[in-house]
């Protein structure tokens, strides 16, 4: 016999706040990349305004989690959800900061002669898709989607290394590009960090759903249990 719990409404509120914060972060990255590609500094105020809202949610979600822990002493799946929410909250706040970094660097770049963007748009596309999918995986408790996010991080790292190498060669061959190339390196570095945070979120989703901690490669992503608890209940005596 199930009973409806006041606590469930609070947990729904927590999930909703995380997804709202994630949505804001996605929009910030889109705008920041658009600012870089179109050399349009007028987009910056909209990004910093959203960062304020993200920071507000960062504090609000932390407080909500602490209240849930203190007042309800959650256990099992509920406990893992609150623990995951605390960590996802930190990752999203950092993603917001990195989107602002991309935008501000883009503003500097807009005052300089244009240069080839190389793989940066592709890195941005990949990072945004990873963030979106990690949040979808959080909302739907989708382990397979979370695993696919983690697998994509290698591609983002490869693109970053390739971008670094190309820009290093460019600076060596043409000293006049140094300032612009350094800015592009900063942008690609921030995009790669956003993908890392999305990967963290995906790992937290796996912990939340399966109770399996796979961080730092302790469990290879391909070995993450494909049996969910619902599929494999342990029978009684």
């Amino acid at each position: 016999m199930s009973v409806e719990r006041h606590f469930d409404r609070d947990l729904d509120g927590l999930r909703e706040a995380i997804l709202r914060m994630g949505g804001l972060c996605e929009g910030m990255i889109h705008s920041a990349v658009k600012l870089v590609i179109e050399s349009d500094p007028s987009l910056l105020p909209g990004i910093t305004e959203r960062e304020d809202r993200v920071n507000g949610l960062h504090l609000e979600i932390d407080e909500l989690c602490l209240n849930l822990l203190a007042l309800h002493s959650p256990a099992a799946g509920d406990l893992r959800l609150v623990a995951a929410a605390l960590k996802v909250n930190s990752d999203l706040e950092r993603i917001g900061d990195q989107a602002v970094n991309v935008a501000e660097t883009g503003c500097f770049l807009s005052n300089l002669p244009q240069m080839k963007l190389g793989d940066v748009p592709r890195m941005a596309e990949l990072a945004v898709a990873m963030l979106k999918d990690s949040l979808d995986a959080f909302a739907k408790k989708d382990v397979e989607l979370a695993k696919s996010v983690i697998r994509r991080d290698d591609e983002e790292d490869r693109l970053k290394s390739q971008t670094f190498n190309e820009l290093r060669s460019l600076m060596q061959s043409d000293a006049s590009t140094i300032q612009r190339a350094l800015d592009m390196i900063l942008i690609s570095r921030n995009l790669e960090r956003i993908a890392d945070h999305a990967t963290n979120i995906a790992e937290d989703v796996i912990f939340m759903v399966l109770g399996q901690d796979i961080r730092h490669g302790v469990v290879p992503v391909d070995d993450v249990g494909d049996e969910t608890r619902a599929a494999a209940p342990k029978s009684g005596s």
Binding site: S2, L79, A230, S235
Partner: protein, 280 residues
Amino acid sequence: MKMTMIEPIETEKSLRRPEVGAAGSAPVSGGKPVMDVRELRAGYGSGDVLHGISLAVPERSVTAIIGPSGCGKSTFIRCLNRMHEVAPGAECRGQVLLGGRDIFAMDAVELRREVGMVFQKPNPFPTMSIYKNVAAGLTLNGVRDKAVVRGRVEESLRGAALWDEVKDRLDGPATGLSGGQQQRLCIARALAVEPKILLLDEPCSALDPSATARVEELIHALRKRLSIVIVTHNMQQAARVSQRTAFFLMGELVEYDDTRKIFTNPSDKRTEDYVTGRFG
């Protein structure tokens, strides 16, 4: 009172340990088993309350029994020192081995010396002093040497973290103590006969948070010397004090595992629903 029916299981098949993977046979972490319960069934004449429980109580550790009201957890621990069979119409079948000995073949007084019990409501002997309450078990067991009794009383009261509070009024009435002190006195009384296992049936349900914290600290200290089986409705208490937790539901053992696992990532959906407060 109806005769208690004890039917030891004798077939070779039924004496075998349950197969690995069954809830009751989860690997025992933290020590070898001091008590082994096999296919325990118990009831009160109108049907079984326990439907074949198998679990091993590890040595020097705390095992918590949790579950909703009526799930059989109190009946279960009352079987472990044969208190169940003193109830009218009580029946009990199956096997409980204490250090390899079948408890149903043991003398009940001898068994209860090895497996002590403390109840929900503190029940010191109301007409006796604090000292005599603790000495009662020793006297009953024929210990006559006053120096030995005195030493054991002090040791037991110290073991129950009560000595400093009562050492100057040992001859005072036990009923003059607070509820929390009375409960620790009952624990001291049980400790005096040096049991291997202490059964605690909701020992803190009548105590305030401060007295509860003292009893919980005591449980932590005692598990260095003996095994404790605690029945509790307070799941936070189970999580705080125990190393292993068994979840009972309608007379069945649903899951028995390390406490950390039960409260963070239980294997059975019914355990998850119970520990998260979705039913019960």
